[in-house]
């Protein structure tokens, strides 16, 4: 059943590409139908998984390239189900917030759905090569989404994103080729490869290579620079997808491929320098730097969207930090943070890029200050207050549970990481507060420029309300009742840790 998320989405993309250009309304409704169907399938799959106690379930398994042991193998465990659910949510919200796309509407949704289809594919792949194939399929549509429908320096942002992604996937491909050639196993299934027992000497260099390759897309410092420019350049729906699911692709790859297949690559080197004694420490430190650096840079931005862009770098740092804690609670927190950040970042980008920008035509905080948006766009202001609270990690929202678990996990592993990451949280409160204050609740005198533009800002449309509602409900639901997802994630992480990851 879950496999149909992939087929349906790609079929939708193909149909959109074949639609006549002027059928904009039809294109929108088709995209919404496909996205909602995907979400429904994801929810049904999740429910079916729950009935099955979130055991790993094989969905499809047919030989694909017989000579090389490559299978078209789709499988889902608790982690997959959670991120598939996230993809469904992000897809629906993305379509809703793209309702106003007038330029080449059908093509926009074609690329959009192709990207979503690739993302579903990655999250459901049980075979290393299938995963890689879907991962690459997701790269190209991103480029066109940004380059055609983007804004600020869109061609630069799009090309930078595409090249970073492709360099990352090239690193992954090298790792895969070597792992494939040296495992000697006649299957490229993720489970089979994990049991193949690659020599430690090879894992030692394959792990950092593949982890870095995937982590580039997860926005790991110092390879994060594509993220802010890409997010800012992208049209709203694409920023939502980039932050919401594409960055998760990277983190998911780190978990599923790098950590699961090359666990011995994280063994201590035997020498330690400044407290760094293994690749695991290296990546933990990079993740912590990302958390603090992203937050500090976000604090200094003048462009509203850049604030959110850098906040994504900071929040994704928590995911990476959680992953390399290598303990139950930290890794569970990391997966939960993937979901949480996917929803919250999507919401923030939607408010900034769509609800506010489409009406004010500026993202400069200094100009927004003069517009008194809390009075003129109360819906946006209050939605942003809630989303900002979620982003700060206040209790009751999903971010709180996720980041708390990551911090506990990293405390178990190495307290210094937790302390430094804690600084990031404090700065996180500061930049969110600052953006909120400046954009919505400032009482600076209105500028003459604004008067010329007239006072009335367009009313909030139903797709905007529906999208905002959907995402807010998701983060609140998980925040108030985290067991909903934790029950799915925990057994999968346990299996992973039992399977050789230490």
């Amino acid at each position: 059943m879950l496999a149909w998320t992939i087929y349906l989405t790609f079929a939708g993309a193909l149909l959109e590409a074949l639609l006549p250009k002027d059928k904009r309304v039809l294109a929108r409704w088709l995209a919404l139908t496909v996205a909602v169907a995907g979400l429904v399938l994801a929810v049904m799959g999740f429910a079916a998984g729950a009935a099955n106690h979130f055991e790993r379930a094989v969905i499809v398994d047919v030989p694909w390239v017989s000579g090389m042991g490559i299978h078209y193998l789709l499988a889902a465990d608790g982690i997959s189900l959670v991120v598939v659910l996230l993809t469904g949510l992000a897809a629906v919200a993305g379509v809703l917030f793209s309702w106003n796309i007038e330029l080449r509407t059908n093509e926009f949704f074609a690329f959009f759905l192709a990207l979503i289809g690739g993302v579903y594919g990655v999250f459901l792949s049980g075979d290393l090569f299938l995963l890689f194939v879907f991962y690459e399929i997701a790269i190209v549509p991103k480029y066109f989404l940004i380059a055609i429908w983007g804004s600020t320096r869109r061609e630069y942002g799009a090309m930078k994103l595409a090249l970073y992604s492709f360099v990352g996937s090239a690193m992954v491909l090298i790792g895969l080729l070597v792992a494939y050639a040296s495992s000697g196993s006649h299957s490229t299934g993720l489970v089979d490869l994990a049991h193949a027992g690659l020599p430690v000497s090879e894992q030692m260099w394959l792990f950092p290579l593949v982890f870095t390759g995937f982590a580039i897309l997860a926005g790991m410092w110092p390879f994060h620079t594509w993220a802010p420019t890409g997010h800012v350049a992208a049209p709203t729906a694409a920023s939502m997808l980039l932050a919401g699911v594409v960055m998760k692709l990277g983190a998911y790859g780190c978990l599923r491929v790098a950590i699961s297949l090359f666990p011995r690559g994280m063994d201590p080197w035997g020498v330690s320098f400044l407290g760094i004694g293994s690749w695991r420490d290296v990546f933990a430190v990079l993740a912590v730097i990302g958390i603090v650096y992203g937050a500090l840079v976000a604090l200094a931005q003048t462009d509203f969207k850049f604030v959110i862009g850098y906040s994504s770098v900071s929040h994704m740092g928590f995911v990476l930090l959680g992953l390399v804690t290598l303990n139950q609670i930290g890794m569970t927190g990391a997966v939960l943070q993937m979901f949480s950040h996917g929803v919250i970042a999507g919401l923030l980008f939607a408010i900034v890029g769509r609800i506010v920008y489409e009406r004010t035509h500026t993202r400069q905080l200094a100009e927004l200050e003069t517009m008194h948006l809390s009075k003129r766009l109360p819906f946006a202001a209050w939605a942003f207050v809630l989303a900002g609270m979620a982003s700060m990690g206040l209790p009751g929202f999903s971010g709180f549970v996720a980041e708390l678990q990551v911090l506990i996990g990293s405390w178990v592993a190495k307290p210094a990481w937790t302390v430094t990451a804690g600084v990031g949280i404090v700065v996180g409160v500061a930049y969110t507060w600052r953006a909120l204050q400046k954009a919505f609740f400032s009482d600076a005198p209105p500028s003459a420029h604004i008067h010329e533009h007239g006072h009335e800002l367009g009313a909030i449309t139903w797709p905007e309300m529906a999208g905002t509602g959907l995402l807010l409900v998701s983060t609140l639901a998980v925040g108030l009742y985290p067991r909903l997802l934790l029950e799915a994630i925990e057994p999968a992480v346990k299996t992973l840790l039992a399977g050789g990851v230490r």
């Binding site: 390239v65 017989s66 090249l163 090239a170 090298i174 070597v178 494939y180 050639a181």
Partner: protein, 515 residues
């Protein structure tokens, strides 16, 4: 010596030559007064029929490998690599012939098709050749055809200029090749590849001769020119730019397949992988020592040469392509890069048919994709009069289908799955790593993968123009029917072969007795 047997081996070539003569008679005789498009259609059709006839007579070839005239030396191979490459050459030739139908660069369509068919016959000989002299004859037959094809647009100065450059470079490289061959003959006393390899077996004095290095460097230069490997690549950009598009497509595809099939033959002779048709491996020079294959003195030198050529080609090709503003030159430099990847596969050549199959897979799919790319370039050139990047601006609005075809082809060339180019690269690099996981092999594969990341940039530069930028001129580009069908066929094949990589893999594997 059995000439009847030899004739049976040469049946496909004979079929092509007869078809070439028929085309000339029909075009210059019966259709002399007909309109150009009728003549072009008839000539192309007859050419395709000739290719089909050659395919049809291929099963009549005697099976069992090499032909031994009275001297007992091998001349031509049948089956195995030779058969797979010959079928590929015939199929790709037919596709390039169809490109002619909707073009008007020449009045002399009959001669054009005849020259193509004769050059293809040269390609067939090269693909099967196992003897230095036969190799040289095949190469010259092919090359002379290519020089003429390059110059075929008589009204175009660029065409004449590029043909002259190509001819001068080609003549010189042929001289190098012959020089190298003569040394090889001098050292080993044989012109048969397998005898030569035996003569160069490690303990033999010949294997240590410094002349061997001289000979192999000369041969590498000569063959490097044919496959467009850097630093012997200088002709490529000029030729691809100046030649009429269908001729450039022929040079980029068929000539590549033939030359790489030759390199496979050399590699196979060196590692004793003989085309084991029908389970009977006729090993006249190969032997096992303690069940380990014995490598010959030839191999170490050859490995080093190919590694250098591969690395230089990948880097030079990809970096030079970044700076191009003409799409034809961009495709040309990317061809240099692709040659580099394939040479890597040849350098680390496996004892089993794994490498040979992977290289054939790569070069056949590359040829198919490039023909499509030149087809698109030809249509755009006719509509805009230029092959500059700007000419592709807004192609998507002017012809959505053309843009979609170009997108598929270029993404495949860049190696994005699930298109066939990805599997070609993957097969090839996996073959390299299964042969050797030494630092050099892993490092060169890493370089190759990193360079394909670079290549995405320039392919995207074209796609950006096609999809993102607005057209300077919004008139629609009409696709002539034959070109339309041809391009759609190629694009769909690239997608289908990519989604079902087993199709082509198992087809090629069948030539090696199933792998």
């Amino acid at each position: 010596m059995n000439y009847a047997e030899l004739f049976r081996v040469m049946l496909p070539e004979t079929a092509l030559e007869i078809a070439a003569l028929v085309v000339l008679v029909v075009d210059l005789g019966f259709l002399r007064k007909a309109a150009l498009n009728v003549r072009a259609g008839a000539a192309a059709l007859l050419g395709v029929v000739g290719c089909a006839a050659a395919l049809w007579v291929m099963p009549l070839q005697p099976l069992g490998g090499y032909i031994y005239p009275s001297t007992g030396e091998a001349l031509l191979a049948t089956g195995g690599t030779a058969a797979a490459a010959q079928i590929g050459i015939l199929a790709l030739t037919a596709l390039t012939l169809l490109l002619l139908v909707d073009t008007e660069f020449t009045q002399h369509v009959g001669e054009y098709v005849a020259v193509i068919l004769m050059a293809a016959a040269g390609g067939l000989i090269i693909a099967a050749a196992q003897d230095l002299l036969v190799i040289f004859i095949g190469l010259e037959l092919l090359s002379l055809g290519l020089y003429i094809l390059t110059a075929f647009a008589k009204r175009s100065g660029a065409s004449a200029e590029s043909a002259l450059k190509y001819y001068l470079f080609g003549g010189m490289s042929a001289a190098f090749l012959l020089f190298g061959f003569s040394y090889l003959y001098g050292i080993t006393g044989s012109t048969d590849l397998h005898r030569i390899m035996l003569g160069l077996y490690m303990p033999n004095a010949a294997a240590a001769s410094p002349l061997l290095y001289m000979a192999l460097v000369m041969i590498a230069a000569g063959l490097g020119f044919k496959v467009a490997a850097a630093p012997f690549h200088l002709w490529v950009a000029d030729t691809y730019e100046g030649a009429p598009a269908p001729a450039a497509a022929f040079i980029a595809s068929v000539s590549k397949v033939a030359s790489f099939a030759l390199l496979i033959s050399i590699g196979a002779a060196a590692v004793h992988v003989f085309d084991g048709m029908h389970g009977k491996v006729e090993v006249i020079t190969g032997f096992h020592l303690n069940s380990q294959p014995v490598y010959l003195g030839f191999r170490n030198v050859w490995l080093e040469l190919l590694m250098v050529l591969a690395a230089v080609s990948m880097v030079v090709g990809n970096l030079a392509a970044l700076a191009q503003i003409s799409v034809r030159r961009l495709v040309a430099y990317s061809a240099v890069a692709h040659a580099g990847y394939i040479l890597l596969g040849l350098a680390f050549f496996s004892y089993t048919p794994l490498s040979a199959a992977a290289i054939l897979y790569y070069v056949l799919t590359y040829g198919l994709t490039t023909i499509g790319a030149f087809g698109v370039v030809a249509v755009v050139e006719r509509a805009t009069g230029s092959d500059r990047l700007e000419a592709f601006s807004g192609l998507h609005q002017r012809s959505p289908l053309l843009a979609a075809v170009l997108l598929v082809l270029f993404l495949s060339l860049a190696g994005i799955p699930p298109l066939v180019g990805f599997w070609a690269k993957f097969n090839l690099f996996a073959a390299v790593l299964s042969v050797s996981r030494s630092g050099a092999a892993v490092g060169l594969v890493a370089l190759a993968v990193a360079m394909s990341a670079v290549s995405l940039f320039y392919y995207l530069q074209v796609m950006k123009r096609a999809y993102v930028l607005a057209p300077a001129d919004e008139t629609k580009i009409a696709l002539p029917p034959v070109t339309l069908v041809l391009l759609a066929f190629i694009a769909l094949s690239v997608v289908a072969l990519g989604c079902f990589p087993d199709l082509l893999r198992s087809w090629i594997a069948a030539f090696y007795g199933g792998m």
